[in-house]
Amino acid sequence: MVLVETLTPTKGDMRNGWRNTRLLQIQNLSKDFISEQGVVVTALAPCTLDIAENEFVCIVGPSGCGKSTLLRIVSGLESATGGRALYKNEPISSPGKDIGMVFQQYSLLPWRTVAENITLGLEAARLSKSVRNKAAAEYLSLIKMESFAKAYPYELSGGMQQRVAIARALANDPQMLLMDEPFGALDAHTRILMQRELLRIWEQNKKTIIFVTHSVDEAVFLADRIVVMSARPGTIRKIINVDMPRPRSRSDPRYGCMADEILIMLDC
């Protein structure tokens, strides 16, 4: 079952005034690939979804539901076999500065310091050293890691590495940030700290975020909207608006109800 979401203004819209309600349009997007045995496998069945500017959308689903595939197509790293993804009404064909991405882990360049990793995108854009240094200082302070500018990735904990990966993506000033289970490899406590940290950064920057996770709790804590996906075939099962104010409390009864509702949906 595919639900086509019609966008209605939310409280956020009123606060921010006008915004682009269709920054990203995913239209019947699907992905098939041919396995080594020559069998056609559907990684992603046709999906349709619109994402608005400044929105924080979480995609949850069991493994193999195609949520990462969906994200990779939107990033431009993979191409779809059916349907299309439009960013600002233009088809996405290759990765670009406007859409950033944070991977699950091990994406920092191990031979570069934290500061050099953060400014990688600016270097790729051939920006001057002074611009890069300024950006490094700014984003190091955003992630509260000023004293780690000259540290190497192997000297950092997993949580710190992910903060640097987020800073690297943000330093490139993308309008949209894709996050592929960015906290999936962290321990439970670090994960909760990172979620708060991400919300704080998001409040400051107001990027559009699409966040893939298999943790229902994480999705309810973070998202404006939750896209629930099912496996086999991997497709969108339901889209849920989370209209609880932030910061959200995990002891809030509504929090538990929503998490339960999603878990039940994932079970069947």
Partner: protein, 257 residues
Amino acid sequence: MLLWLHLAKVIDNRLILPQFTSVAIHFFHPLSSLIGLGSLAINIFISLIRVFIGYAIAALLAVPIGVLMGYNAGAYALVNPVLSLFRPIPPISWVPLVLAWFGVTSLASIIGLTQGPWYVYLNNFKVSMTFIIFLGAFFPIVTSSIHGVSTVPRQLVESARVLGADEWFVFRKILLPAAGPTIVNGLRTGLGVAWTCLVSAEMLPGSLSGIGYMIMHAYEIARVDVVMTGMISIGVTGSLLDYFFRIAERKWFSWKR
């Protein structure tokens, strides 16, 4: 060493196992002439220069070829069949062919020298021997360069691409540095192989100097002490070369854990 001291005394035959001191003494006089072939130091030096010439050519060709093959599947498909055919051939087995091709052509004859002190010096560096060293060093370097580039984690490349990096940037700033440790490891292996090949090549006809030749000549005149001196020199020099490489590796790739 104690075992050597003891056995030499028991055997008491300098043709089978010379006294420890008779070998050791050569190392205390590295600059005095040995069996009419020049000093130990000069023979090691000649061998080293030979290695570096052949090795430098091998490195300059193998690294770019390997990197290209690791980067581009088409280049790999095109060149790999040829490489895998030549790779199993021991460099030493090329010697007869190489001698037929290049004969006694040396650096001196290439630049047209026929006499003078430079001739004597440059004539030591034969094209044939350089070619053997080249072959020995080439394959380990090319193989590890291919491997280094083709096994760069996809995530590193993708994380640069999603920042908007172009292909050239990814190649220079992601692929090359990431493959660096593997390539340098191949360079290190290649140098070791080159050194071994050289010494073997020097033992074959057509050579008139170098540490390998010194060993063969000493054997012919039954100077086992000089043979052993040569062997120890080869071992020490080879392991020193390797040691310097390891230090450089540790310094350049401290991020590699």
